[in-house]
C-alpha cells in the first residue's frame, strides 16, 4: 500500500492547540487524515475542529481512549524531548517529531530510551510523512503530489516539496514521502526507509534527497548496492557549500572533510544510483 502511514493510521497530535500545531493539524484533518486525538497538558476535555477531535491531558490517556497508533509532535523545542519520551512510554509505535531546534543532548537521551522501546521515530526537524490520498502526518503540502509508485525519502524540507512538485508537473505520483530530518541525532535513517520501500509492493522506484554532512548517504549507498532491487534516483544538495560553515541544519556541517557532496555523490553513483544535478531534473530520470 505505502509505508508507515495510510488511511487506517489513527493519528494523535501532541501540541494540537499551539499556534503551529493547530494550523497544521487542521491541514492534516482537511486532507482526510484520520486524526483521532490531540494532546495538550492542561486542556484535556476540550474538543477541537468543530467538536470532532477530543483533546487529552496525556498521551497515555489519549491512546487508551482512541487507539491512536501514530503521534505527530508540534510542541516547542524545549518540550520536544519530553513529548517524544511520553509518546514512547505510552508505546505509540510511530512518533513523528516536526519540531526544529531540539538540543542534541536531549536527542541523545531520547534515542537511548527509544531504542529500548522498539518504536519508530521520524525526525525531529523534519516535514513528516505523506501517503498521498491517504494520510498527511506532518507538514508536507498535500497538493504537490498524488498517489503513485515512487517512494521519496529526504533529509530536507522544502527541497522535498520542490522534487514532489516537479514530479507532479511530469504527472508522476508517490507511494509515500518520508522527511527524515537533518539533525545530527535523529530517528529513522535512509537505510531504514529504503528497507521499507524495498519491501513495499506499491513502490517501484525510489527518490532519495540528501545533503552535505554526516555519512548516512554513504551508508545508504552501501545498502543500495547490496540489497536494493528497485531503482534509486538521488539528489545531494550542497555542492557549492564552503566547508565548515553551518548551513542552517546542525546536520549540514562538513566534518573535517567527511560528508562532502562529492563524496556522497561518488558513493551513490558507484552503487548504481542515478544522480540528478538539480531537483527538477529528478522527474525526468524516473521511469514512467
Amino acid at each position: 500500500m505505502s509505508i508507515l502511514v495510510d488511511k487506517a493510521s489513527r493519528v494523535l497530535i501532541q501540541g494540537i492547540t499551539g499556534n503551529e500545531g493547530q494550523f497544521h493539524s487542521w491541514q492534516m484533518f482537511q486532507y482526510g487524515t484520520n486524526v483521532v486525538a490531540g494532546v495538550t497538558p492542561g486542556k484535556g476535555g476540550d474538543w477541537i475542529f468543530d467538536g470532532k477531535v477530543p483533546v487529552f491531558d496525556s498521551v497515555k490517556v489519549a491512546k487508551d481512549a482512541t487507539g491512536a497508533n501514530v503521534s505527530v509532535i508540534f510542541v516547542p523545542a524545549r518540550y520536544a524531548a519530553d513529548a517524544m519520551l511520553e509518546a514512547a512510554d505510552a508505546e505509540i509505535p510511530l512518533i513523528v517529531c516536526i519540531t526544529e531546534g531540539v538540543p542534541v543532548r536531549d536527542m541523545i537521551q531520547v534515542r537511548k530510551f527509544l531504542d529500548q522501546k522498539k518504536v519508530y521515530l521520524v525526525g525531529p526537524n523534519c516535514p513528516g510523512l505523506l501517503t498521498p490520498g491517504q494520510a498527511k502526518v506532518g507538514i508536507i503540502p498535500g497538493n504537490i503530489t498524488k498517489p503513485g509508485n515512487v517512494g521519496v525519502v529526504s533529509r530536507s524540507g522544502t527541497l522535498t516539496y520542490e522534487v514532489l512538485y516537479a514530479m507532479l508537473a511530469n504527472d508522476i505520483g508517490s507511494s509515500t514521502c518520508v522527511g527524515i530530518g537533518g539533525d545530527p541525532v535523529h530517528g529513522l535513517n535512509f537505510i531504514d526507509t529504503l528497507e521499507l520501500f524495498e519491501a513495499d509492493p506499491e513502490t517501484d522506484q525510489v527518490v532519495m534527497i540528501g545533503e552535505i554532512g554526516g555519512n548516512e548517504e554513504q551508508l545508504a549507498a552501501d545498502y543500495i548496492a547490496r540489497y536494493m532491487t528497485k531503482p534509486v534516483v538521488a539528489f545531494i544538495a550542497g555542492e557549492s557549500a564552503p566547508p565548515g560553515k553551518r548551513m542552517g541544519h546542525a546536520g549540514a556541517i562538513i566534518e573535517s572533510g567527511e560528508g562532502t557532496a562529492e563524496e556522497k555523490i561518488h558513493a551513490l553513483r558507484v552503487s548504481g544510483v542515478q544522480i540528478a544535478h538539480h531537483p527538477e531534473e529528478i522527474a525526468s530520470m524516473l521511469i514512467r
Binding site: V104, R105, T158, L159, A237, E239, S240, R246, M247, G248
Partner: protein, 380 residues
C-alpha cells in the same frame, strides 16, 4: 556557539580540569602586569575563533614582562584569517614532557558522546589522524550512564599513559566529560593536555562549542557570545531568526529551507554564477522577516542580483510578496530581483508582484539562469 580559549578554560576550571595560571587582557599594559604577577615568563595568545593561530603568529612566548607587553601590543594589532584580535590570554609559560590530545564530541553514528584521545597531541594532531589513524583512540560513552572510572582507565591504558598519571588523568577526563555534558557542548577539546616537567597534568589549550539549540538552558553562557567576531550582517540575521552565511559571490539568495537554499546555490554555480550568501528564512516567515532578509542581502555591495526562491508550505507566498513590496517601497533598490514563488497562495503572491519591477520565474533552473545572466551584465 564557539567559545574562546579563555572562556573554555574558565568552564574547564569549574569542572576540575587544571589549567595554567593566567588572565585575559585587551590592552598591552595589562599583559605586562599579568606577566609580572605570574613571574615573568608568559605565553601571549590571541583570542580569535579560528584554527592555526600559532602559525599565523598569534601565539608568542615572552621571556619577561617587557617582552610580554611588546608581543601583546603586536598581537592586539593583528588580524588572523580576517578576524581582528581584540583579546589576548596571558598564561604562565609551562615546561612540559608530553602533549596528549583529549576531546569529547558526539558520535553521530552511535548517537552518543565519544572520547577521542591520542598520546601524540599538539598542533599536528590532524596530521597524526591522517597518517597514523591507529594513534587516535575513540571510545563511546553510554549517555544515560555517563562516563565510568573503568572507561577512563581504558582510555589511559590505550594511550599508554604512565601509571603514575592515571589517577590524575581519570579526574581530568571526568571533569572534561561533565563540562561537555552539563554545558550541552557538541565539542570539548584539550589540545594539548600536557605532562609538565614537575609531573603535573594541565590543559594548555581549550576549545568548546555549545549547542545553540540548548542555550536556553544556559543563560550564563549566552554572555560568552562574542559579537565582535561576527559580521554585522550575521548578528542582524540572528536577531530576526534568519540563518545567514556570507560568501564571496555576486548573486544574493533568499530561500526557505536549508536544503533548498543549498540546492539553489548549487544551481547558480552550475549555471556559471556564484552565490553571495546562504540565507534560509525558515518556515512560516512573515513579511517582516522577508524585509529584514532583503536588507541584509543588500548590505553587501558586491551583490548584483537577488534570487528569491520560495516554496510555500508553512511559508505563504503572498506574505513573501508583501514583504518584498514593502521593502522596495522603503528602500530604493537598484539591482534586479528575480523571484520564484511556488506553493501555498502562489497565485496571490504572483498577482501582488506583477505590477512591480520584480522579475518572476516559473522554474528554479530558469530563475537561476536569469540571475546569472543579469549578474554578468547580460540583458533579458
Amino acid at each position: 556557539m564557539k567559545l574562546h580559549e579563555y572562556q573554555s578554560k574558565k568552564i574547564f576550571e569549574q569542572f576540575g580540569v587544571p589549567i595554567p595560571k593566567g588572565r585575559v587582557a585587551n590592552i598591552a599594559s595589562e599583559a605586562k602586569q599579568i606577566a609580572e604577577e605570574l613571574g615573568g615568563r608568559v605565553v601571549i595568545k590571541s583570542q580569535v575563533l579560528v584554527g592555526g593561530r600559532g602559525k599565523a603568529g598569534g601565539i608568542k612566548l615572552a621571556k619577561d614582562p617587557n617582552e610580554a607587553m611588546k608581543f601583546a601590543s603586536d598581537i592586539l594589532g593583528m588580524e588572523i584569517k580576517g578576524l581582528p584580535v581584540r583579546k589576548i590570554l596571558v598564561d604562565e609559560a609551562v615546561n612540559f614532557e608530553q602533549e596528549i590530545y583529549l576531546a569529547i564530541i558526539n558520535n553521530r553514528s552511535n548517537n552518543c558522546p565519544m572520547i577521542v584521545a591520542s598520546a601524540s597531541g599538539g598542533v599536528d594532531i590532524e596530521e597524526v589522524a591522517q597518517l597514523s589513524p591507529e594513534k587516535i583512540i575513540k571510545y563511546n560513552i553510554d549517555p544515560l550512564l555517563g562516563l565510568q572510572d573503568f572507561q577512563a582507565r581504558d582510555v589511559a591504558l590505550s594511550i599508554d599513559l604512565p601509571r603514575v598519571y592515571w589517577k590524575n588523568f581519570i579526574k581530568i577526563l571526568h571533569g572534561l566529560y561533565h563540562a561537555f555534558w552539563e554545558t550541552d557542548s557538541t565539542l570539548a577539546e584539550i589540545n594539548p593536555l600536557v605532562i609538565t616537567k614537575d609531573e603535573r597534568m594541565m590543559a594548555l589549550d581549550a576549545k568548546m562549542i555549545i549547542d545553540d539549540n540548548a542555550l536556553f538552558r544556559h543563560p550564563d553562557l549566552i554572555e560568552f557570545r562574542d559579537l565582535d567576531i561576527e559580521a554585522p550582517a550575521e548578528v542582524e540575521a540572528r536577531k530576526y531568526g534568519l540563518s545567514f552565511i556570507k560568501l564571496d559571490g555576486e548573486i544574493g539568495c533568499m530561500v526557505n529551507g536549508a536544503g533548498l537554499a543549498m540546492a539553489t546555490m548549487d544551481i547558480i554555480q552550475q549555471n556559471g554564477g556564484s552565490p553571495a550568501n546562504f540565507l534560509d528564512i525558515g518556515g512560516g516567515a512573515g513579511a517582516e522577516k522577508v524585509s529584514a532578509a532583503l536588507r541584509i542581502i543588500l548590505s553587501d555591495p558586491k551583490v548584483k542580483v537577488i534570487l528569491i526562491n520560495i516554496f510555500g508550505g508553512i511559508t505563504r507566498c503572498d506574505e513573501v510578496a508583501k514583504g518584498l513590496l514593502s521593502s522596495i517601497k522603503q528602500t530604493k533598490i537598484k539591482i534586479p530581483i528575480v523571484v520564484r514563488l511556488v506553493g501555498t497562495n502562489e497565485e496571490l503572491g504572483r498577482r501582488l508582484l506583477c505590477d512591480s519591477e520584480i522579475l518572476t520565474a516559473d522554474s528554479l533552473v530558469s530563475a537561476a539562469k536569469t540571475s546569472v545572466l543579469l549578474a554578468t551584465g547580460g540583458e533579458l
